[in-house]
């Protein structure tokens, strides 16, 4: 048990992150309107610095701070670096968007940084109140960011729905917390595990309390049946925020869920084995609903929302398959989160670049993108292929890994269902690709089908002629290009050789699954 100073020392990155957020907010006050770009730069440099700092300081540390409230371990470190890096990419891809579509960039970046703080704590929390506060820190930031486009009614509506449902779910979560507390007198994950194991204090109050906790977290994950806010919020929020919601908020929630389950419930095998099936069914329903409803979508963001619900289903299958000492499943979940994040960032960066120029976000608006802006189209297509789980992209490897792990844990049926659901998803991802590559650009001559009895058609390769200048889209700015480049590199790298990353993740899984 480290002393107070040591405690504070180990939290240096978090303090520094808070400072960074405040710094950005403060600097904002003094910067003229034309120099607001500096804020992003400060944030990015700060986040990169913090990532390095975290690695240097916390590498190899295994501590529990404040009597079991917070963990400083490999798991937290991996997620910390993940969140910080994600922050960098999100900020990089939002600069152009913010400049063009939003006001008050200072608060935007500041709040974004604070939300990263919340995510960091979510990965570290070992106790329910801490977890709750961290979660609320993240949520509050996201409520604000969602509603950030103040004059956009969709943004308002998204913010309102998000905060109402968010508050409602946190009420459920807190009620669950209070039930856990009233049956145990404490709220640490370890205490829950001990109570379940020994039976002391265990009873309906505890069980229902835990169920309500899961409801609260399920909201955060957008697991069915707690998912309905997600499409609306994703659609209403600004694109960078949608990206952040889809990737960051989800990853943080999974970090928390992973630690809660791995440390609090999974070790008690005889009880966990009875609950597993419930989570598995939830996962199955989630992946089916998400992917089926996505088939019927027209708006890109909404499509990504349902798609992300589908992916949550896959990840939940991983949660259902967790077992004591078995790091394979945990590895699978974390690897999936990373792969999904890398792929999604590519997709969203491409969408942001598209939106920045056109202001459009329907799937049909992408028509002819392959001719209008080939690089964006290629990036988006690669992203879509990766999300649908095709090689040589990240999506294939992570799905194979996760589903194998799930199957190995005794849930072959769930893995099979996941494979099937993933097949359904292919259809709507291909629809996006179809728009970009097959449909002619607006203004290009429409293509005829070659009728057998018809006149000889024009040269069979003449279709899809170069679009007129009006529909062409300039290449994305260097920031988005950088994000896309990094993202694509990640997508290929994970797709081809994930072993180094798996080695790192293995360490993280071991930290929360002792005895593995």
């Amino acid at each position: 048990m480290p002393g107070l100073t040591e405690n504070l020392l180990l939290l240096t990155p978090e303090f520094a992150l808070t400072g960074l957020a405040l710094l950005v907010l403060a600097v904002d006050l003094f910067l003229p309107e034309s120099r607001k770009g500096w804020l992003a730069l400060i944030s990015i440099v700060g986040l990169l610095g913090l990532a390095v700092l975290s690695v240097v300081m916390l590498q190899g540390r295994e501590e529990t701070l404040y009597g079991g409230l917070l963990a400083v371990d490999r798991f937290a470190l991996v997620f910390k670096v993940f969140f910080l890096g994600l922050g960098v990419l999100i900020i990089l891809s939002s600069v152009d968007f913010v400049r063009k579509h939003l006001s008050h960039p200072g608060e935007f970046y500041g709040i974004l940084l604070l939300s990263i703080l919340g995510m960091n704590f979510m990965a570290q929390a070992r106790e329910l109140l801490t977890a709750y506060i961290a979660l609320e820190l993240l949520s509050f930031s996201l409520y604000v960011l969602t509603a950030y486009a103040r004059s956009n009614p969709k943004s308002n509506e998204a913010g309102l729905k998000y905060i109402i449902i968010g508050a409602f779910s946190s009420a459920l979560l807190l009620y669950g917390l209070s039930m856990v507390y009233s049956s145990l007198g404490t709220t640490s994950f370890a205490a829950i595990r001990d109570a379940l194991a020994s039976g002391a204090g265990a009873g309906p109050t505890l069980w229902v309390g835990l169920a309500l906790l899961i409801v609260g977290l399920g909201f955060k994950l957008a697991a069915v049946p707690f998912h309905m806010w997600a499409p609306d919020v994703y659609e209403g929020a600004s694109l960078p925020v949608t990206a952040y919601l889809a990737i960051g908020s989800k990853a943080a929630a999974f970090a928390l869920v992973l630690r809660l389950f791995a440390e609090g419930i999974v070790p008690v095998v005889d009880i966990w084995s009875r609950w597993q099936i419930i989570v598995a069914v939830m996962a199955a329903v989630t992946m089916l609903v998400g992917n089926l409803v996505a088939l019927a979508q027209r708006n890109l963001k909404r499509l990504m929302a349902y798609s992300s619900i589908g992916h949550v289903g896959f990840l939940l299958a991983g949660i259902a398959a967790l077992g004591p000492g078995d790091t394979l499943v945990a590895n699978g979940i974390i690897l999936y989160l990373v792969g999904y994040a890398v792929t999604s960032i590519v997709v969203f960066a491409a969408l942001i670049a598209f939106f920045n120029h056109t202001g459009q976000e329907e799937i049909a608006d992408l028509a002819g993108l392959a001719d209008r802006q080939p690089f964006l189209a290629a990036a988006l297509a690669i992203g879509m292929f990766s999300l649908s789980g095709l090689p040589i992209f990240a999506g294939f490897t992570i799905k194979f890994y996760l589903f194998t792990a799930v199957a190995r844990a005794g849930f072959l049926w769930l893995a099979a269902l996941a494979v099937f659901a993933s097949f359904i998803s292919l259809y709507y991802y291909l629809q996006v690709i179809r728009q970009m590559y097959i449909q002619p650009a607006p203004g290009a001559p429409p293509e005829q089908s070659h009728g057998h009895a018809a006149e000889p058609p024009p040269d069979s390769n003449a279709h899809g002629a170069a679009p007129d200048a009006a529909s062409a889209i300039p290449s994305p700015g260097w920031r988005l290009a950088l994000v896309l480049g990094l993202g694509l590199a990640g997508v290929f790298w994970l797709g081809v050789y994930p072993a180094p990353l798996v080695a790192i993740i293995e360490g993280a899984s071991r930290a929360i699954l002792p005895g593995g």
Partner: protein
């Protein structure tokens, strides 16, 4: 030599893959350069594939030129293990040839040329990969990689056709093909997981096919479980092999696809399915295979007859060839299912032979379509007068496809029949293999009917004036078609170099039965 042996298999996947990636960075505005570059890459792979085929020592047998690279450790135990045996070596060669032909024929692609070659080379890499890996994960990886580019290749560069009573758009063809093949891979994936789990139960937690094969041969895998797993592979891979009733993606895909893609699609992609059944289904779950073979041989027979009868009333040349592919793949499935060394070897040879033959068909149909902008055999006529070389080669391909001696198809089909007649695969009291062999011979006769009718209708006889403007094949088309004809004849007259390679591995494969 030593260095090349070490690297050959790795290079043959790497070359097209790297070519594909490099081509992404070429200029969009200079399509000719992309074509030259693709030719270069295809030439390298062709050279490598020839090297691999020639280098394969049939006296030694087994897997050769093997390499293994660790990828993920236990408990997954995934390795990039490479190796060719006598079954894959001819198929590697086939892919090298068809890829080269496909790239050459793609000369006519003028629209987004660079992207076309990026995808075509990726497709080639995927196919090579499937043929040379010895690990289930990577087999599946490359399998999906081979499927992936098909959507765009057909969707972007394909053509839509209005048949009067129904419309087949390229979007439909591409989407159906893609969904169908991935649906097949869903089953394969589940099968792979189940196999991995079952092997894990026996303490061999691995995706390494060599270890799994050993386990299966030592009786380590529960036969009941194998019976559950094999149909997953049979149907999953069968979809790609055009197994009835999961075949409709194939003719529709052909109708929509551009020439080069049709060549690769029917030439090698469909072979992946049959190869998968052999390599994964039969090798890793032999007990399951034995149990299900009567069904497979029955379905293969249905394929043969159904494809041939369907082809008879098709008007569109690509539909005719597409259904004929379904029919000919039936022989492959039938041969595999005989579980008889001659039959299985015949099936493998049929894969090679049909690959070349059908690619030849598509080159010619493409040449006609490029000039006439129509493929309806009822409207086209008297082509011999205008397109002598094309028609001559088409007649040759037709004669080869109806199993005329002197062409490779005859040797292969004859071996399949021979195997079927000696095989004792039966369902209850019904001697399935014998029936299949008998009906297969009938199928060959039906093939003669539709091919000869087609030849008479479309190529011989008087030509309408509207076809007076047609010109004969371009030099590139002549070259590719000529090379294919030559291969058909050489293999037909002297199949020994192929058979001695195939036989040795088929014998090893069948030891498990």
């Amino acid at each position: 030599m030593q260095a090349l042996d070490q690297a050959a298999l790795f290079l043959i996947v790497l070359a097209p893959l790297a070519g594909s990636l490099l081509a992404m960075f070429m200029s969009r505005d200079r399509p000719k350069d992309a074509w030259y570059f693709a030719i270069l890459v295809a030439a390298v792979t062709l050279a490598l594939s020839i090297y691999i085929f020639v280098r394969y020592d049939y006296t030694a047998g087994g897997y050769q030129l093997s390499r293994s690279f660790g990828w993920l450790g236990a408990p997954l135990d995934i390795n990039l293990s490479l190796g060719v045996d006598g079954i894959s070596a001819p198929l590697v060669l086939l892919n090298g040839i068809i890829l080269m032909g496909g790239v050459l024929i793609a000369q006519t692609i003028k629209h987004r040329t660079r992207d076309f070659f990026v995808l075509l080379l990726a497709l080639g890499a995927g196919v090579f990969g499937v043929f040379i890996v010895r690990d289930l994960f990577f087999l599946f990886f490359f399998y999906e990689l081979a499927v992936l580019p098909m959507y765009l290749l057909i969707g972007v560069w394909g053509s839509s056709t209005d048949f009067g009573t129904f419309l087949r758009t390229k979007e439909y063809g591409a989407m159906k093909l893609m969904l169908y093949l991935v649906a097949g891979s869903v089953l394969i994936w589940i099968g792979i997981l189940a196999l991995y789990l079952e092997a894990g139960q026996q303490g061999v937690s691995t995706f390494d096919m060599a270890k799994l094969s050993d386990l299966a041969r030592d009786g380590g895998l529960d036969p009941t479980v194998q019976r559950w797993i094999f149909p997953l592979f049979m149907i999953g891979f069968g979809v790609l092999a055009g197994l009835w009733p999961f075949h409709t993606w194939s003719p529709d895909g052909h109708v929509a696809a551009p020439t080069s893609v049709s060549m690769l699609h029917a030439g090698v992609l469909m072979k992946l399915g049959a190869y998968g059944i052999i390599r994964v289904g039969m090798d890793l779950t032999p007990a399951g295979a034995e149990f299900w073979m009567p069904v497979l041989i029955g379905l293969g027979t249905v394929n043969v007859l159904y494809g041939a009868i369907s082809a008879m009333s098709q008007g569109d040349l690509k539909y005719v060839i597409g259904y004929s592919s379904v029919s000919h793949m039936g022989y492959v499935l039938m041969g595999i299912a005989t579980l008889h060394p001659i039959g299985v070897a015949g099936a493998v040879l049929q894969m090679f032979s049909h690959g070349i033959m059908t690619a030849l068909f598509f080159v010619l149909v493409g040449a006609i379509y490029d000039r006439a902008h129509i493929r309806d055999s009822h409207i086209l006529n008297g082509l011999f007068k205008r397109m002598g070389v094309v028609s001559f080669c088409f007649a040759i391909a037709g004669l080869a496809s109806l199993g005329l001696p002197g062409f490779s198809g005859f040797i292969a089909e004859f071996m399949v029949f021979t195997g079927a007649f000696q095989s004792d695969v039966r369902l209850g009291f019904v001697p399935m293999a014998l029936l299949a062999g008998g009906l297969g011979v009938v199928g060959a006769a039906i093939t003669a009917v539709y091919i000869l009718r087609l030849l008479a209708r479309t190529f011989f006889g008087e030509a309408d004036r509207q076809w007076a403007h047609l010109t004969d094949a371009s030099p590139v088309e002549k070259g590719v078609a000529g090379a294919f004809v030559l291969i058909l004849v050489v293999v037909g007259v002297w199949p020994e170099p192929f058979l001695r390679v195939i036989n040795v591995s088929v014998a090893t494969l069948l030891e498990a039965f």
